[in-house]
């Protein structure tokens, strides 16, 4: 079936640095999402993006977070600066109207 690719699968950075997580969504999808999963906890909605704009964001989507999809390329999540509590697995999803397709996640380790 359709695949959402997330690059890289694991990223290790020092606290305070900037990180960009990349998501290659399913072509012709219009809705894009990021979810965050801290180890041992459930996956939680961060943000969704449609038509070049943030449509809705949760309280987990801090001011240090931003998303964009320049020129229909990767859908990115940028964290600047990172904090220790940002360590988690971040899942990207893209969808049409009724079905979401998820990537395998990027494990972010902030040291």
């Amino acid at each position: 079936g359709p695949k959402v690719l997330q690059i890289p699968s694991h990223q290790i950075i020092d606290m305070g640095q900037m990180v960009t997580l990349n998501c290659d969504p399913v072509s012709n999808h219009l809705y894009f999402y990021w979810y965050k999963q801290i180890l041992g906890q459930q996956m939680e909605f961060l943000v969704n993006f449609y038509n070049g704009k943030v449509m809705e964001k949760s309280k987990l989507f801090k001011d240090q977070f931003s998303v964009e999809r320049p020129d229909g390329s990767y859908f990115t999540l940028k964290i600047q600066p990172t904090a220790l509590e940002d360590s988690a697995v971040y899942f990207c999803a893209s969808g049409g109207k009724n079905t979401l397709y998820f990537g395998a996640g990027t494990r972010l380790s902030v040291l």
């Binding site: 959402v4 997330q6 809705y31 996956m43 969704n48 999803a93």
Partner: protein, 114 residues
């Protein structure tokens, strides 16, 4: 508060046995209910979804789930499991307005004994 509870963190069943993975939800509006499966090093894959109509929905690979409104439950079932069903299963709920904004349970890790 909106929430999904999967009370069993781990379930182990023998190959060929029947399976039920439990899911209960709390949602103030009309719930859209989903079951996803995650195999190692892969993204979540949709097994089945319920929007309305027949409360028993069929999914891929012989899975089905039943929506019981009075019990706020959406348990996943399979008549006979195969070793390849070993994975983590997530139940999720969303509303109609933003269907991609899912509220997930914590997942149930299913192990199959030979």
């Amino acid at each position: 508060a909106q929430s999904v509870t999967q009370p069993d963190a781990r379930v182990t069943v023998s190959e060929g046995a029947s399976l039920q993975l439990r899911c209960k939800y709390s949602y103030s509006g009309t719930p859209y209910l989903f079951w996803y499966v995650q195999y190692p090093r892969q993204g979540l894959q949709l097994l089945l979804k319920y929007y309305s109509g027949d409360p028993v929905v069929q999914g891929v690979n012989g899975f089905e789930a039943e929506f019981i409104k009075s019990n706020s439950s959406f348990h996943l079932r399979k008549a006979s499991v195969h070793w390849s069903d070993s994975a983590v299963y997530f139940c999720a709920v969303s509303g109609g307005g933003n269907q991609g904004k899912l509220i997930f349970g914590q997942g149930t890790k299913l192990s199959i004994k030979p």
